[in-house]
Amino acid sequence: MLELKAVHKTYSSANGQTTGAVEDLSISIACNEFVCLVGRSGCGKTTTLRMIAGLERATRGDILLNGTPIDGPSAQRCVVFQRYTLFPWRSILDNVAFGLETQRIPKSKRKEVARHYLSVVGLADYADAYPSEMSGGMQQRVAVARALAVNPEVLLMDEPFGALDAQTRTTLQNELTRIWETERKTIVFVTHDIQEAVLLADRIVVMQGPPGRIQTVVDCNLPRPRDKGSATFLQQCELVHTLLEGIN
């Protein structure tokens, strides 16, 4: 279980002024739950994700994973970023195997695991290719495979499909749902796309800010696979939309 307890984050600028990025954030995320953080830009959703990742420290409050406070980044909490972050000097297979190198796993086993996750994202044939030879959508799939390969407890995704075209994005959303259903991971997914949140999440955390606060948490119980055209789907989107708009 991932718990945020009264988490605050303030940044202090050089002239001594402090600005609040996140204020009094509390939420519990269950194992294997898919949670989306939505909100307009600057509402602190990325900051929240980065604090869970351990890339930034909370100014006050606690973030606990299975009861243990988070102290710095680790492979337990892997991040997939919006910008393409594959290492261009490594082949696709070696990119996926990257995280395994830091765990004491023999080389042949690493390759085997990497191949497995490449096939999970449907790119088994591209093991020997290099990132520069791949489209953005393919690169993000590899990034997902690279994160899954280290078997993290929590997968953190910061608008991972934000830079992709609409069609590719839809494909990857469906794939992510499928992967999540088979791999069973806790996923915290940041997006500003309401449809995306409703399509993916078990729960949607609607944030407002700055400084970032949780406005509401919406349960999203539609059966999967979800149909973007169905009436209930659109209703759910409408609801989240109204909540977001209501902030103004």
Binding site: A53, G54, L55, P73, S74, A75, R77, C78, V79, F81, R83, T85, F87, P88, W89, F98, G99, E101, T102, Q103, Y130, P131, S132, A143, R146, A147, V150, L156
Partner: protein
């Protein structure tokens, strides 16, 4: 006309024109001590193994110069690259060294000559490191010469290495860290490979500047070989043809080193995809 032919016409027309004007002027002036005829220069260049005056041949002088630059350059690499990596990634190390680096950097390598001579004198490497034995080569390479080349090559390598590390997109490092990479793994698998393209650029520029410092370094008292020495020696004997031949050789060698480095840089196909 094919594009290929036009390409080379554009590239060669100006050098050919300049050489032609030079030759015409030289023939008209008829003063070999001021403006040597190009065919005289060519004679020197085309016989690289021939003994020039009482110094060695053009070839020998070039080899000793190359060895000097290489040694000074390698010493600069050995210090500038690790220091640059550390300064690029670790803030407090950067703060400690930055002011000193920025103050020393604008000093031209030539300005170091008197001080370096005062410190190190004109003794050869063989005197400093007796284990090298007393072979001619080591005793003709002076520590002070290497120091000047070192100063010339050091700063471009250092600054490019720092930039190389600093320009790594932070998402690379953050991804790596959330994949469990830290310490040596982060250094050797992410930070260093990601900065290799700019480090190579720094090495190329550093080697070029080191080569340019060579003449100054070989002008110093106690020198008795090398292309820089050859030029000065020829000047004292009023042999402009040898001066020009020496200059052409310096230019050609510098050009070849630069091209070789660019070739290696281009082998790193991924450098533009960052």
């Amino acid at each position: 006309m094919t594009a290929h032919l036009r390409h080379w016409l554009h590239r060669l027309s100006l050098p050919v024109l300049l050489a032609f004007m030079w030759q015409v002027l030289a023939l008209w002036l008829n003063k070999a001590t001021i403006l040597p005829r190009l065919d005289d220069v060519a004679v020197v260049l085309l016989h690289p193994m021939a003994k020039i005056l009482i110094t060695g041949s053009l070839w020998e002088n070039m080899a000793i110069s190359l060895l000097r630059v290489l040694l000074g350059f390698l010493a600069a690499v050995a210090i500038a690259v690790p220091l640059g990596l550390a300064m690029g990634h670790i803030q407090w190390i950067y703060r400690i060294f930055d002011t000193a680096v920025e103050m020393l950097r604008p000093i031209p390598p030539l300005a170091w000559v008197p001080l370096i001579l005062a410190w190190m004198g004109i003794r050869g490497l063989a005197d400093w490191f007796p284990f090298l034995g007393s072979s001619m080569i080591w005793s003709s390479i002076q520590f002070s010469t290497l120091a000047i080349i070192f100063v010339g090559a050091f700063f471009p390598i250092l600054l490019n290495t720092i930039q190389g590390v600093r320009r790594i997109p932070c998402e690379y490092v953050e991804s790596a860290r959330t994949l469990g990479s830290r310490g040596l793994h982060l250094w050797f698998k992410v930070l260093i490979p990601a900065s290799v393209p700019l480090i190579l650029t720094g090495l190329r520029i550093g080697l070029g500047i080191g080569w340019m410092c060579l003449v100054a370094a070989e002008m110093m008292p106690g020198s008795s070989s090398g292309l820089g020495y050859l030029i000065w020696y020829a000047y004292e004997l009023l042999r402009a043809d040898i001066i020009v031949a020496g200059m052409v050789t310096i230019g050609l060698v510098g050009f070849c080193m630069d091209r070789a480095f660019r070739y290696f840089e281009n082998l790193l196909v991924w450098k533009n995809s960052m």
